[in-house]
């Protein structure tokens, strides 16, 4: 056995006797191998197998390295004050994810959901590795599936689908071997486009159909079949990670049930206030797959009283997490088909109210532009507009202080309440609201 050791190592080796020498040499060899592998990045440790385990009575459990894993996650898009969604935070020299990852770990977060990877693969890999290697936080990586492309996502056109498919497969090929990857989410609320509610699209065949209900079904069939095709092809190149279908509410899943056998789970965006209602049982009856609550939560601004209300946010989030835990596989209370959630979101985003007005990105806007009666404490706000898009952060951003070069993070009450909840999900914590 030829070893290439430095002088100090050689000196120590000569002092040891036979067996000890061999053992020590082996250890050093292993250490060197690992160090080289980490430094080079070319030979990272083997990817961890992530899969869904089906238990009795239609219960589902997410498994990571053969161990049950409940996703205690958060949606992550750390846009600093004064920037908008076009900001490339992956390239931020101050590495905001390092500050955030530390605080997330302290809270108990084990997963972040990122809607789509940045453009530079090396920087994306660096973020995934930093979060995983330093804090044990895994990444759910998503893809918009061209939802925001101008003028609309042409799911009814093959050339559009082919282009999106290539992007998705490129993403999987690039990151599938990262140990920090947990799963893939395809789309977000793209199903609403099938109902013409947002980003409407069509093709000649659909346009020629006079019955609007059939048109809706045709669009849904095209879209969900495309997602299923992607899921199948992802599995062919990456057998180690589940593929989730991103979906707004449960709308359209009756169609997905017919055409999505290759999808492993559903990642639902749900804003129903303090309760998810019968979501879990309803999913079982419609599309019997595991569910990740991939976007849910509450804002912390009382639009009626015109003031921040951290109690309100903490109240809703605690209630939501309690229901998630009631419905995971090992709970006796619920449907057993929930694998966890990624709450919306880690930091406030100050650009959201007026995304085209750079001046407003410097202002923490308090004007609401949508309504949701489920968040009933401030539903009496003018025009019932009670949802404040810029106030969903579990941590607030400071516009006066910096920490390690980025806007200082100020944990809100929800941070502490959910941290305590995760420590002991059985314990009842009485909140003010």
């Amino acid at each position: 056995m030829k070893l290439s050791l430095n002088n100090a190592s050689k000196k120590r080796l000569t002092q040891d006797t036979g067996y000890k020498k061999r053992l020590k040499a082996l250890c050093i060899l292993c250490s060197l191998f690992c160090a080289c592998a980490v430094l080079s990045g070319a030979a990272r440790p083997l990817t961890h197998k992530v899969y869904i385990k089906t238990l009795n009575a239609g219960r589902y459990q997410l498994m990571v390295n053969n161990r049950p894993y409940i996703v205690r996650g958060v949606c992550y898009n750390p846009i600093p004050i004064g920037k908008n969604h076009e900001y490339d935070w992956w390239s931020d020299a101050h590495k905001p994810w390092m500050v955030d990852g530390k605080r997330m770990k302290e809270m108990g977060i084990n997963t972040v959901r990122i809607y789509q990877a940045g453009e530079d693969p090396e920087k994306v890999k660096a973020v995934i590795r930093d979060l995983y290697d330093n804090y044990g936080i895994r990444v759910i990586l998503g893809h918009w599936l061209g939802f925001w492309e101008y003028p609309c996502p042409f799911y009814g056109h093959k050339d559009f689908r082919d282009r999106v498919k290539q992007q998705v497969l490129d993403m999987v090929n690039l990151y599938k071997d990262e140990p920090g990857i947990l799963m893939w989410i395809l789309g977000n609320e793209n199903n609403y486009s099938c109902l013409n509610m947002v980003r409407p699209w069509s093709n000649d065949e659909i346009d020629n159909e006079p019955d609007p209900q059939k048109q809706k079904k045709m669009r849904a069939t095209i879209y969900y079949s495309f997602v299923n095709e992607l899921a199948g092809q992802i599995h062919a190149i990456d057998p180690n990670h589940p593929v989730a279908l991103g979906n707004g509410e449960l709308i359209g899943l009756d169609v997905a049930n017919e055409v999505c056998p290759d999808v492993d789970l559903v990642a639902c965006i749900i804003y129903r206030g303090k309760t998810f209602g019968n979501l879990f049982n309803s999913l079982k009856a419609t599309f019997d797959k595991p569910i990740l609550l991939s976007e849910f939560g509450a804002d912390c601004y009382d639009a009626y009283l015109g003031q921040e209300d951290q109690n309100m946010q903490a109240f809703f989030l605690q209630s939501q997490w309690r229901q998630i835990y009631d419905n995971v596989a090992n709970s006796k209370k619920g449907a057993g088909n929930c694998i966890g959630g990624t709450m919306f979101e880690w930091t406030d985003e100050w650009w959201k109210h007026s995304e085209s007005d750079p001046e407003s990105w410097l202002v923490h806007d308090t004007e609401s532009n949508w309504t949701n009666g489920s968040y009933y404490f401030d539903i009496k706000a003018k025009g019932n507009k009670n949802m404040n898009e810029e106030w969903f952060g579990i941590v607030a951003l400071s516009n006066t202080e910096k920490e390690e070069g980025i806007d200082a993070r100020i944990p809100r009450k929800a941070y502490y309440v959910i941290r305590e909840f995760w420590k002991n999900p059985q314990k009842e914590i009485k909140l003010k609201r």
Binding site: P212, R272, G273, G277, N278, S282, S374, Y376
Partner: protein, 382 residues
Amino acid sequence: MKRIIVMSLLMMLSVSWVSAQETASSPAKEFVVFTDKNARDNHFIPSGWMGDYGDLKLNDQAMDNPHTGTTSLEFTYTAKKSQGSGWAGVYWQNPANNWGSKKGGFDLTGMTKLTFWARGAKGGETIQKFVIGGIKGTYSDSSTIEFGPVELTDTWKQYTVNLAGKDLSYISGGFGWVTTADLNPEGCTFYVDDIKFEADPTMKPQVRQPESMPFYVYSDRSSIKNHFIPSGWMGDYGDIKYEGSSKEDPYLGDTCIKVTYSGKISQGARWAGIYWQNPANNWGSVDAGYDLSKATKLTFWARGAKGGERIEEFKVGGIMGEFSDSDVASVGPVILNKEWTQYSIDLKGKDMSYIIGGFCWATNIDVNPEGATFYLDEIKFE
């Protein structure tokens, strides 16, 4: 001997003192809302006139056949829609005219029922609901309990509202009633007497029972079978004209619903719709869902005035609030025929155990550029 007499007197005094103490500390068995005008134990005043208050007349000293005492309360409702509401009612408040802006009310913890006596002048008068609590404001009542609809008889009858298990720690609206012009097209006269809360230990908290099928949202204008109120006007509500008593070729019975959507974009929303709610205007703030677990579908009949009107969605449930509907189901878009056509919303597998929003339609200007007029009838859960 003197000592014995003194001892006896002391003992008698002592016994009478103890019994007075017991009376003072033992919980009250009843708490009067209203018995006779000027009765000393009246605690609430029938001051809260609502809706078409111009249609109401109150004789608070009706001598004609009171239930007990010398008088009862006589209400006359003309159904003339003086204020354009189509409904009217009266709340008994404390203090008078307190709509939650003043501190008043009573802690009625321990009371388990409210009883009252009522009769109609002719019999057949329909009261949409009687209500206890429910006043909202800075000083909101701690509960809302509703009872009804009730079809009165021409003789006195006692009604009991179960309050067991309800939070009665603050009640400023001790009693109230509401009825509508649709339920009483010719108006009505009725009498109320001896309204009181009682502490009856035999009362147990009411368990919500699944409703029997069929369960109507709308049968006919004056039908006591109607269960939800078309109160949830949404979007461009100024574009909507609603007639719950159209006689233009109803599918069944005397009347049907006629909806005219002008498409004028009055509120700038570009869409409009109506939710049928229980109670009226309940967007999930009042715990009043029906248990419709036995329903497997909702059916309704619809037709367009011209044919071709497009309704984007007909829906059941879906109201989200502090008390959310347990599920949602919908059908649409639907292009209406000129002839009556039955539509169905499949509820199999749905959780219909708690429904506030019994029915809903919504459409928009983009699919009805000229607006739309359409008719609905026989909306029911089966």
